[in-house]
């Protein structure tokens, strides 16, 4: 075990995997700098700088994966996937089906996501709900270093496309780059347990599609992931002080969703709260509701999500993204209602 930052953990997983498997290569804009630790070790053949042509190089990642490589294609911020959407929606995710199951696309798409540092509505989206809507791919959103390393390892071993999203509040270098953390005159609400933690050496794979009970409880089930998971844990402490025991579940994978874990917890507590930094409508929170309902579990339901375009102003942003206050309020409502 070693103490690592979130970013170090991902690097460590990648380095371990790249050393073991020659087929893995990384490409994206500025990766020789962003992944300089990998670059100095593996060189320009395996860590490859791209032009700002996401559609072409993500599409090329699909082709390369079909032809025997295991590319990790970086899309910087997940918001930018929009210019390369076709490569995921109509190519990567469909080749296996189209080929009658004969041809796989072992591709990892890595991108930073999420807000909380004042970059505005085009650079702070989560989009995991939208992405998870494509059949044929997985989407994972680790909330701590060990899961980050473990899910990256699993993604690299996976035979279908996996979107690996790292939240910028957890990755110190993103916060430094995009939040301007270096100036010392700004501060961010970085969840300590997410930005740094113990990681096994060598890191151990975390299965894709398996959630984790982050705190046990019996009064309500709180489903979350990424940075919001930590907001939920904080809220759970406050609720505990009021005698309310919240079960907090880190979903970790958006798809496949750990439907069994969701149903079991909902059945136990009878109350479901989804805390999701992604947009509220037509995404993860709705899918959790459907999962619970399909399992035949009767449970009260509420959600705390991002309800519109993310505002730029810090104080508006703070209210738009799920925060402890909103989570507690929703939980109290559920418990009393």
């Amino acid at each position: 075990m070693a103490r690592m930052t979130f970013a170090q953990a991902v690097d460590c997983a990648l380095e371990t995997a790249m050393a073991a498997d020659e087929r893995i290569m990384v490409m994206g804009e500025d990766v020789t700098m962003l992944r300089r630790n990998l670059y100095v070790r593996f060189g320009p053949r395996r860590v490859r700088q791209t032009p700002i042509s996401e559609a072409a190089f993500l599409g090329a990642g699909v082709g390369a994966a079909m032809a025997g490589l295991r590319p990790v294609v970086e899309i910087m911020l997940v918001d930018f996937i929009a210019v390369a959407y076709d490569a995921l929606l109509n190519e990567a995710s469909k080749v296996n089906a189209f080929s009658g199951g004969k041809w796989n696309v072992p591709l990892v798409v890595r991108a930073a996501c999420g807000g909380g540092y004042g970059d505005g509505g085009q650079h702070q989206q989560c989009l995991w709900g939208m992405l998870a809507g494509m059949p044929g791919i997985s989407v994972v959103v680790p909330s701590n270093p060990a899961d980050a390393a473990g899910l990256m390892l699993s993604a690299l071993e996976c035979d279908h496309p996996v979107v690996f999203l790292e939240h910028k509040l957890l990755s110190d270098y993103w916060l430094d780059y995009l939040g301007g953390a270096s100036r010392g005159t700004v501060s961010f609400d970085v969840p300590a347990g997410g930005a740094e933690g113990e990681v096994a050496k060598p890191p151990q794979p975390v299965p894709i599609g398996k959630g984790r009970v982050a705190a046990e409880g019996s009064d309500l089930s709180v489903f979350s992931l990424g940075v919001s998971l930590h907001r939920c844990l904080e809220a759970a402490s406050s609720l505990a002080a009021k005698g309310i025991r919240a079960e907090v579940i880190d979903l970790r994978s958006v798809t496949p969703l750990d439907r069994e874990l969701i149903a079991d917890s909902a059945r136990k507590t009878g109350r479901v709260l989804v805390v999701d930094e992604d947009y509220m409508g037509f995404g993860l929170s709705g899918e959790v509701a459907a999962t619970v309902a399909e399992a035949g579990v009767e449970a009260a339901f509420a959600r705390v999500c991002c309800e519109g375009v993310i505002p730029f102003a810090r104080h508006l942003e703070e209210e738009a993204l799920p925060n402890k206050r909103r989570i507690i309020a929703a939980a109290l409502d559920l418990v009393s209602g």
């Binding site: 290569m25 053949r45 490859r48 791209t50 032009p51 042509s53 559609a55 072409a56 190089f57 993500l58 599409g59 090329a60 990642g61 699909v62 082709g63 390369a64 994966a65 079909m66 032809a67 025997g68 490589l69 076709d86 490569a87 109509n90 190519e91 469909k94 080749v95 089906a97 189209f98 080929s99 009658g100 199951g101 004969k102 041809w103």
Partner: protein
């Protein structure tokens, strides 16, 4: 180097007969949905793919069957696929716009332009694995305005990818004359991304072959991508049953259907702009006429052109062999189909 014209002609004949077989199945209702044939593109495909070696990759568009025929994919399995059979190349899951053959490193897509990045990815893997493979991307003139293609030209050039871009320029994109929505010249456009760009008469297989030879040599030598702009006719319209061609072929029958609403729209009130509107009506008529006219009057059939280069005796034999190969595949496919029908 000189092409083996008989080998090229054999490939062209195989492709043509295969397309005819597909058309027949489609007309009989055994193939659902759209069907874009590559009739007219045979010289381009044969001339380029004659340079293909085992281990090379193919990224294809919605007219993917001719290259797959040339590549040696089992014909019956393709026919079974476009009929949606379980024994088809893709288990009936892909269909005619999504034919994939892993063993031949050949993939296709119905999204216009996406064969360019897919080919870039194949070429990237070839470069990375360093076993001498190269990748071919086939697409149309309309696709050359798609960002996917333009970005890929740059990517391939910047990375010196072993990729050959083949633009089959039939001068149409469905009902749109490509020229009317394209700025500049496509060959020069590709060259401006920093790669050799060959413009060639795509109805003359020997010329395509010569241009492709240079492009392929360059790619294999690790000197980067090339672009081939090959003009060719679109002999069967955009897809089978192309409504515009229908108007041209059976004007009376179709006019009943298309005519009245059009005329109504043109003469609706206020009538002030009548003359102008008649002009617009004329534009539509002209498009239909050009389209149909090109097909029936001026189209140069590359197969006939190639045929003239082949000695009479071999020609008949080649055609006979190709025809019976396809016939046999059709028979096999129909057999497979019946087993499950």
């Amino acid at each position: 180097m000189k092409p083996d014209i008989e080998r090229l002609y054999r490939q062209m004949a195989r492709m043509r007969f295969f397309e005819e077989a597909q058309a027949d199945l489609w007309n009989r209702g055994l193939v659902p949905g759209e069907m874009h044939l590559g009739m007219g593109e045979e010289a381009v495909v044969a001339g380029v793919l004659d340079h293909l070696r085992e281990g090379d990759a193919l990224a294809l568009d919605h007219r993917s069957t001719p290259p797959l025929v040339a590549r040696g994919v089992d014909l019956a399995s393709m026919l079974l696929e476009v009929m949606g059979e379980e024994e088809g190349l893709c288990g009936g899951m892909g269909g005619h716009m999504h034919l994939f053959s892993r063993e031949h490193l050949a993939g296709s897509s119905g999204i216009v332009g996406s064969s360019a990045p897919m080919g870039a990815g194949f070429a990237l893997a070839a470069q990375y694995l360093d076993q001498g493979g190269i990748a071919f991307s086939f697409f149309g003139d309309g696709a050359a305005n798609q960002g996917l293609v333009l970005e890929s030209l740059n990517l391939a050039s910047a990375w010196k990818l072993p990729q050959v871009f083949v633009c089959k320029d039939n001068s149409w994109a469905i009902t749109t004359r490509t020229r009317s929505v394209t700025g500049g010249c496509l060959a020069r456009r590709a060259a401006s991304f920093g790669m050799p760009s060959f413009r060639v008469d795509g109805t003359r297989v020997e010329r395509v072959w010569t241009a492709a030879e240079k492009a392929v040599r360059r790619a294999r030598a690790g000197r980067g991508p090339s672009f081939i702009l090959a003009s060719c006719p679109r002999m069967e319209g955009h897809f089978l049953g192309d409504p515009l061609l229908r108007v041209y072929k059976e004007p009376l029958k179709q006019a009943v259907e298309i005519g009245p609403p059009l005329a109504k729209a043109a003469f609706s009130r206020p009538l002030s702009a009548l003359a102008r509107r008649c002009g617009y009506l004329g534009n539509i008529g002209r498009t239909i006429a050009t389209l149909g006219g090109e097909r029936y009057l001026t189209a140069i059939d590359p197969l006939l052109r190639a045929a003239r280069l082949v000695p009479e005796e071999s020609r008949a034999r080649i055609e006979e062999e190709a025809r019976s190969e396809v016939a046999e595949a059709v028979a096999r496919a129909m057999e497979g189909r019946r087993r499950h029908g």
